[in-house]
């Protein structure tokens, strides 16, 4: 009985998740976006929401300040986020676009870990909450 209830609950969560995915993003992805929105508002009261356009420009831009080998997100992720990329050690990276890799951007810890590592390598600094939210908005929109 307990087992059945757990199965039903899981199915419900999965159903909710997939409807959310069809609608654009999952509940977990929305929660992460919301977190960045709150942080961005706290940093800048004039914050008016994320922009996929700004995220796109940021993703494809050649940044300075980081390591010379990795000037841009596209160094590893390629200029097509719907295609697979390649780590510097040669490992295949699943496409960044949420439409191709639906499990992406659902684990706050993972998202933060990769922004922490990659912003340091590409820009030589931490990214702001608004930069992270913009990139997420871009990758979730593809």
């Amino acid at each position: 009985m307990k087992h059945l209830r757990r199965t039903l609950a899981t199915l419900l969560v999965l159903a909710a998740g997939s409807t959310a995915t069809l609608a654009g993003k999952s509940a977990a992805q929305q929660a992460i976006q919301d977190g960045y929105a709150a942080a961005a508002r706290a940093a800048d009261p004039a914050f008016k929401g994320f922009s996929a356009e700004r995220g796109k420009a940021f993703f494809h831009a050649k940044h300075g300040g980081g390591k010379p080998e990795t000037p841009s997100c596209t160094t590893c992720h390629t200029s097509d986020p719907t295609a697979a990329g390649k780590s510097r050690a040669g490992k295949t990276i699943a496409p960044m676009a949420a439409s191709r890799s639906p499990e992406r951007f659902s684990d706050q810890k993972q998202v933060e870990k990769w922004f922490r590592r990659n912003c340091s390598d590409v820009l030589g600094r931490a990214c702001t909450a608004s930069e992270k939210g913009d990139v997420l908005a871009y990758l979730l929109s593809l």
Binding site: K67, S87, G90, K91, R117
Partner: protein, 388 residues
Amino acid sequence: MTEPTTSRSDTTSAARTAGPTRVVWDLGVRAFHWLLVAGVAGALATGLLERKSLFDLHVYLGTAIGVLVLFRVVWGFSGSTYARFASFVCSPFTALGHLRDLLTGKAPHHVGHNPLGTWMILALLTTITALLATGVIVLGGVAKEGPVKAFATYAFGHAAKTVHEGLAFGLMGLIGLHVLGIVVESLRTRESLVGAMIHGRKKNRADDIGAAAATARPFIALVLAGCAIAGAYAGTEALARLPARGVPGPVLDKVYAAECGACHTPHHPSIAPAATWQAIMANLGDHFGDNADLDADAGQRIGAYLTANASERWDTRAANRLRAPSASEPLRVTHTRGWKRLHRHVPGEAFASAAVGGRANCARCHRDSDSGRFAARAIAIPQERTKP
């Protein structure tokens, strides 16, 4: 008509002395001899070439030689007259006496093996048996395979390898002397000993020294040899089921595999000492040029896993050979002397090829790298297609 025979033994095999020739070497002796020639030639060739691709064949040939030697020992008690040890085994002083007689031209003519030949046979059989024993120890200690993999340490296997190689050269020397003896004796007796070992017959001579006739017991021999081989096989199989000494389990830690495997092949912890892993974990912010920061809990778990499973804990070939870090690049396994030595036959272009993608990409060629075994037979260097 009975020939006058001067014989040291009281009875000669009268039935076989009739006619101009008689069968001296029975089918068992002849088949054993030429199969052993083929097996030893193959084992020496595959061993001396030291190609990893020939390693399995070398082990199979060794096993076949073991079966042949087992059969020959049984046949030495159950074969026909001149196959039996009793017909030819003599003291080393007899052999020395025969050598003196040879040099003074007074050596008699033996139907079967002469005393010097006897000692050559004993030396060849002993050397081959010692090669089989040391080979099994190398297989167990270094490759962690076969019947003694549960007992032999890498160091013991490695030492046995030196002995095995020395014995192989000793065997080649003995084979040279054996061939020399055949040539000398063939010239002296004006009878091809090679031919005799092919068709089994030798001429009857007035001054033959024969041996007490014995009847071959092929059925008993086959049953006995079959039982011995079946016993050896069952014993080997039972021992091979024991876990290999100092070989890690086949699965990597899940968190380690997921976190570190996101960017590169997760290396088995046994390929570096604990100190190297700790230094790597302490400096993830600049991990060979990239930022590979981890959350505190994941970092702690991975660090503990790597330390507990570092090369000190295991006894595989990789763990032993990669245990000493490089002085100039202490964090790079590919800079250790052991790594370079193990990969000395791999051309630089193979690592540079797009199919491999660098020296750190162990799993590309070692299909068992996840298990830390790095077995010779699990190596497959991907071939890059050449552009037209």
